[in-house]
């Protein structure tokens, strides 16, 4: 049995089910309570679970993220939202220096079982400080796990696993996926962290991607199929831990790789994956690993400018053909 719901609703269901399952799961962040979140993810939660479990915080990202670390060290499972992932700049210390490092620095004593939900991504014409894809910052930081789902089904299953995980998990949620309605299974299910999914099988080239770019990649694969090019789309779903086995399996089959993300290309996680493939799967490759990413620019406002700054279906088609020399 399945049902059709939006990605934001699926995320809300994950939090709701986990709050019912474990009373230590609490929600905090800006406008999460009375308003039920700017994207409507927690509408009605405060009435249902009470103000002691769903907190409207002041605009104090560093303070409330740090507070979540302390509460998590005591055994709470805070699900915290940074309204935009761009705001990590004002909460960098509690997440990158505290949450991520606490277990190691204390010799394995401390657990910080918190989830930081980070709405991210381009395409909403929100300009330079509300449109970035900053997964590389989180993936770079040892101690953090990072999920970046592309579908309603994955978003729900992964977030449930993230909430139950004893490590801090960053949930990268593309804002332009929230309203997308998709079929998901009825009832309880989880998807393990660190498990990629082949979203389309193919033999000629592997697109490695995540989040909203999975959809553009699937569209590109569809177009390319009309020309007889069979593209495999590997949706990483989790960025840390990386499902290397899935990458090896797919690359060993197709021998060509394009990595697609919305990140600033320079210093991107796409670059990291590219390096790992070059280092370890060189003999499998028929061509150099290619990347289709954002530009090395500040996220622009005007539509004609912003559209230059993240890959679209046509860009991916073009990039695939370039790798295959077609």
């Amino acid at each position: 049995m399945s049902k059709k719901i939006s990605v934001s609703k699926a995320i809300g269901e994950a939090i709701h089910e986990e709050m019912e399952r474990d009373e230590n799961v609490i929600v905090l962040g800006e406008d999460m309570g009375k308003m039920g979140n700017v994207f409507g993810i927690t509408v009605g939660f405060q009435e249902e679970f009470g103000a002691h479990r769903v907190w409207d915080t002041p605009i104090s990202e560093s303070g409330f993220c740090g507070m979540a670390v302390g509460a998590a060290m005591r055994g709470m499972r805070p699900v915290v939202e940074l309204m935009y992932n761009d705001f990590i700049t004002v909460a960098a210390d509690p997440i990158l220096n505290q949450a991520a490092k606490m277990r190691y620095m204390t010799g394995g004593q401390a657990s910080v079982p918190m989830v930081l939900r980070c709405p991210m991504g381009a395409g909403r014409r929100n300009a330079g400080q509300h449109s970035q894809s900053l997964e590389a910052i989180f993936c770079h930081t040892p101690g953090l796990k990072v999920i970046a789902p592309s579908s309603a089904e994955d978003a729900k299953g992964l977030l449930k696993s993230a909430i139950r995980d004893n490590d801090p998990v960053i949930s990268m949620e593309h804002k332009l996926l929230y309203a997308k309605k998709e079929q998901i299974p009825e009832g309880e299910y989880t998807i393990p962290l660190g498990k990629a999914a082949v979203k389309r099988e193919g033999t000629d080239l592997t697109i490695i991607t995540w989040s909203r770019q999975v959809n553009f990649s699937l569209e590109a694969a569809e177009e390319l199929a009309k020309e007889g090019i069979q593209v495999e789309v590997l949706d990483l779903r989790t960025l840390v831990p990386l499902d290397w086995d899935a990458i090896v399996e797919s690359v060993s089959k197709t021998h060509n790789v394009l990595i697609v993300s919305e990140e600033v290309k320079r210093g991107s996680y796409a670059g990291e994956i590219s390096a790992q493939i070059a280092e370890e799967l060189f003999d499998e490759l028929d061509a150099p690993v290619a990347r289709a990413c954002g530009l090395n620019i500040v996220s622009p406002f005007s539509p004609t400018l912003e559209d230059e700054n993240f890959p679209h279906t046509a860009d991916i088609v073009k990039a695939v053909k370039k790798v295959l020399n077609k």
Binding site: I26, H52, R53, T57, P58, S60, S62, G63, F64, C65, G66, M67, A68, V69, G70, A71, A72, M73, R74, G75, M76, D93, P94, N97, Q98, M102, R103, Y104, M105, T106, G107, G108, Q109, A110, S111, P142, G143, K145, D165, N166, D167, L193, G194, V240, P241, L242, W244, Q276
Partner: protein, 335 residues
């Protein structure tokens, strides 16, 4: 300094405070000696001169109350009941240390045992962590209070404002304890802050705030006890500012040339341990012999900690990649 001869406090408690201050001074002195000899690595920040603050403050706590410490945190840990052997071993980077040698001086923690949420290498970062601990207590209704140590300079971090604002708004059971030694590395607090005291800022949050003499453990105890009781009763946070002196520079080896000579003159005049000792004798709380016996026992404990630490092994290099993650550690570390 308040009189101890009013018999308001038991001899056991007063001698316990004396012993605790000696332990802190002894531990720090030994650490300084070892560091200066090149036996320790990295950096250590000593709390010599500040012994009365953690001593008095932790006496006001129940064993299952929580505590968040700072980079200058050895005294906090000792006062909370820390094991000198495990602490010294951690300073030496040995596998027998509190953090298996992975944290060192700035990260000593014992979360389950001592309810110590740990020292912290980032100035002001412990403030929201302590507030979060109190937040958990508030939600659970568990009646534990969290004591948050921070220095005068941490009061100028944004986390100070953000955390105290939330703690006040939600009446969280936390005591914000400022150890005001007047210096952030080389910068004197009044050169960068417009108020005479840190505690006066409590007015901005509409919470209690007071400044007390941090050179007397009983004075500190009384102020912190009042704040702890207030928090435990559900009234919310307070700021307790304890004026104190940092005898050494910022780090061990810092000659502190930036301070006027009058700073150390005043520090010695007000130094907690000799003054408290004199009072114990003068007011007939203890005999000279009793105090000498305590001093000898502390010296012995410090030497034992030194022996334990130096005789312990370093962690195996293979331990470098453990404890990053609770699950899927190997895969998450390799890539």
């Amino acid at each position: 300094m308040i009189s101890v001869s009013e018999k308001k406090y038991s001899k056991e408690m007063l001698l316990g405070m004396y012993e605790m201050m000696l332990k802190i001074k002894g531990f720090e002195s030994k650490a300084a000696e070892c560091f200066t000899k090149g036996m320790m690595h990295g950096n250590i920040h000593l709390c010599l001169g500040q012994e009365a603050v953690p001593t008095g403050a932790c006496y006001a706590l129940e064993p299952d109350d929580y505590m968040a410490s700072t980079h200058r945190g050895h005294g906090h840990c000792i006062a909370k009941g820390g094991d000198l052997n495990l602490m010294m071993a951690e300073l030496f980077g040995k596998k027998t240390g509190y953090c298996k040698g992975k944290g060192g001086s700035m990260h000593i923690a014992d979360i389950d045992g001592l309810c110590s949420l740990g020292a912290n290498g980032i100035v002001g970062a412990g403030i929201p962590i302590a507030t979060g601990s109190a937040f958990a207590s508030k939600i659970w209704g568990d009646k534990h209070v969290t004591l948050c140590f921070f220095g005068d300079s941490a009061s100028n971090q944004g986390t100070f404002h953000e955390s105290i604002n939330m703690a006040a708004a939600w009446k969280l059971p936390v005591v914000f304890l400022c150890e005001n030694n007047r210096y952030g590395v080389s910068t004197e607090i009044h050169g960068v802050t417009n108020t005479d005291t840190i505690a006066v800022r409590a007015k901005a949050y509409d919470i209690p705030g007071k400044t007390v003499d941090g050179n007397d453990p009983v004075t500190v105890y009384e102020a912190v006890k009042e704040a702890v009781d207030y928090a435990r009763a559900g009234n919310g946070p307070s700021i307790v500012e304890c004026t104190t002196f940092r005898h050494q520079g910022h780090y061990c080896g810092d000659p502190a040339v930036y301070r006027p000579a009058s700073y150390m003159e005043e520090a010695h005049e007000k130094e907690a341990i000799p003054n408290f000792r004199n009072k114990l004798i003068k007011e007939n709380v203890a005999t000279e012999e009793e105090l000498v016996a305590i001093e000898a026992a502390v010296d012995e404990a410090i030497e034992a900690a030194y022996k334990f630490a130096t005789e312990s092994e370093y962690p195996d290099p293979s331990e470098a990649t453990t404890d990053v993650y609770s699950s899927d550690n190997e895969r998450s570390v390799v890539r």
